[in-house]
Symmetry: C2
């Protein structure tokens, strides 16, 4: 009998916290902490891991900008490539650190009991519709802040870019955040799961690609929300549970007010009702909005439950002892 | 009956040619040309692809250097991470471009004849011995050129770095180039091959890791020769043929002299004899030395043949009509 399949979406904090710059020491320390928490759920679950890449892709875009001038004159690469680079970077760190912990303390592999479970990272393209309305309305800020003069010069050089003013902090490029429709490498992920591996896939929301008339896929300059991509991944691998790990212990009504009330278990219909009433308060202005949207969608798509909690509480949350559980 | 298994090692020219800077347009054009050549061998072979990353990792190191100063102040990450980033970047491009060609014109998948063969990239660690003598004698130049003052300042900041003077062009960091002993993700590559995929693995010679006493693996600042890593990969997947694709049509005796003589077929013993006699001439000062070393090692490790030729001639070379074939 196969263990239940769990897709874990790791927030940015799992790799680079708050005001950290993202040095290698910081990333190794943070990922080690997160990996220790994931270790607690490995004995009872088959696991797929996806992750954000905001700080890492931000660093790459700044470094490319810095390196594009004299005396370096290195080419600036588009966002799909930058995303692919972060999948290599973060995937390697997770695969190395979690793989080492599994080697020392993990359960045996299902198909090969002489060995421990191994971790593998798949470079993952995620399909979005070329008719997605997000392409008409770019909203996701990326890359460096610019002065007004720099912004105008970039608009001249790249008329296809949308540059907006960001409330007093300068000018910034925004890109579309379209909806994921398919994990392009889902067959590969499923084969590796069948073979007993833990798979890291869809990092940073995946490398965004659109499908052409002839079904070929082509990278686009966009950022897919990592929780929505994680939901798609959870559906495409037929996971029972989708766990969104972030920097809060659970979801709150009236978040950040004296009336704040933590939610333990809630149905999809109740989440929808509270969303309609605005009862989640200011948490929706942060990242909770996409998380709840991803959660509702997973249940609608046939998933059994969504957990929203911190990495530290993930194992307890899976046993119903912590975090927020969203059910059909 | 399974088709024979072929490991292809792509040289840097397959992605970024000679004096190109490595813009996305250049990389897409070059990889498309290479992928069209690989398409010719797909009908008769199962394929694993590995590739160099010299220009790409060079760009990342320069961009990190540029971005490390005011006003960017982004962290410089170590070489294992930079290598992992190039595996994501180049793996994505190969997987996207070759995948699209296969979708349009490729043969059906062996296990699922309704579908075309798919391509997948595995983030790959490659184990080297921590006792490898290369760690005592770093020889591989990496990253930017420095002035004498910069070199001294870096030596102070990073006493663990080896900085050498590079014949009139300034100062440069050199890192060890240890021998690959194991493709750490070989089981993952083999499972994906069994499932009928084309696999991209071990890019840039792999992410170099050493094995600790407790068998955990740990990234090191080093560069593994991509042809030697490709040889290890070819052995670890049990390939019949190892094809090293580069910028020459074949191997020459007395290379670049009036007496130059192209080699069609040669045994391992003859290669060894010519090497001992110095008969390959100046080609050994370029990249032909490691290629011949990798070729000899593959035959010694039980491989059936090595092909050394250009991507354009790969299909003909596999039929014995072009290139150099090295046999037991």
């Amino acid at each position: 009998m196969l263990k239940p399949l769990l897709v874990i979406a790791l927030g940015g904090n799992a790799m680079i916290k708050g005001k950290q710059r993202g040095t290698i020491e910081e990333q190794i320390e943070n990922i080690t902490e997160t990996a220790k928490q994931i270790m607690k759920v490995v004995p009872k679950n088959r696991v797929v891991i996806t992750h954000g890449n905001g700080p890492q892709v931000g660093n790459i875009m700044l470094q490319m900008e810095a390196g594009s001038h004299h005396p370096f004159n290195r080419p600036v690469l588009p966002m799909d490539i930058c995303g692919a680079m972060t999948q290599g970077q973060i995937g390697y760190l997770i695969q190395n650190i979690l793989g080492n912990l599994l080697l020392k303390e993990g359960p045996p592999s299902r198909l090969n009991p002489q060995e421990k479970i191994k971790v593998t990272t798949i470079v993952t393209q995620v399909v979005v519709s070329k008719d997605d309305p997000a392409f008409q309305n770019p909203t996701k800020p990326v890359g460096p802040f610019y002065s007004k003069e720099q912004a105008e010069s970039i608009r001249t050089e790249h008329p296809e870019f949308t540059i907006i003013e960001d409330a007093g902090r300068g000018y910034r490029r925004v890109v579309p955040s379209p909806d994921p429709t398919e994990i392009y490498e889902k067959d590969q992920v499923n084969k590796l799961l069948e073979a007993g591996f833990i798979v890291v896939a869809g990092g940073g929301g995946g490398i965004p690609v659109i499908k052409n008339e002839d079904s070929t896929v082509q990278g686009v300059e966009a950022v897919i929300d990592k929780d929505l991509a994680g939901e798609r991944l959870a559906v495409d691998v037929n996971a029972e549970t989708f766990a969104i790990l972030t920097d809060t212990d659970r979801v709150y009504l009236n978040y950040n007010t004296p009336n704040a009330e933590g939610i333990n278990t809630i149905t999809r219909a109740e989440v929808q009702k509270y969303l309609d009433e605005g009862a989640f308060g200011t948490s929706l202005k942060g990242s909770m909005g996409p998380k709840l949207r991803a959660a509702l969608r997973f249940i609608k798509d046939g998933g059994k439950r969504v957990i929203i909690t911190s990495p530290e509480l993930a194992a307890d949350a899976l046993e119903g002892k912590a975090g927020t559980t969203i059910t059909p």
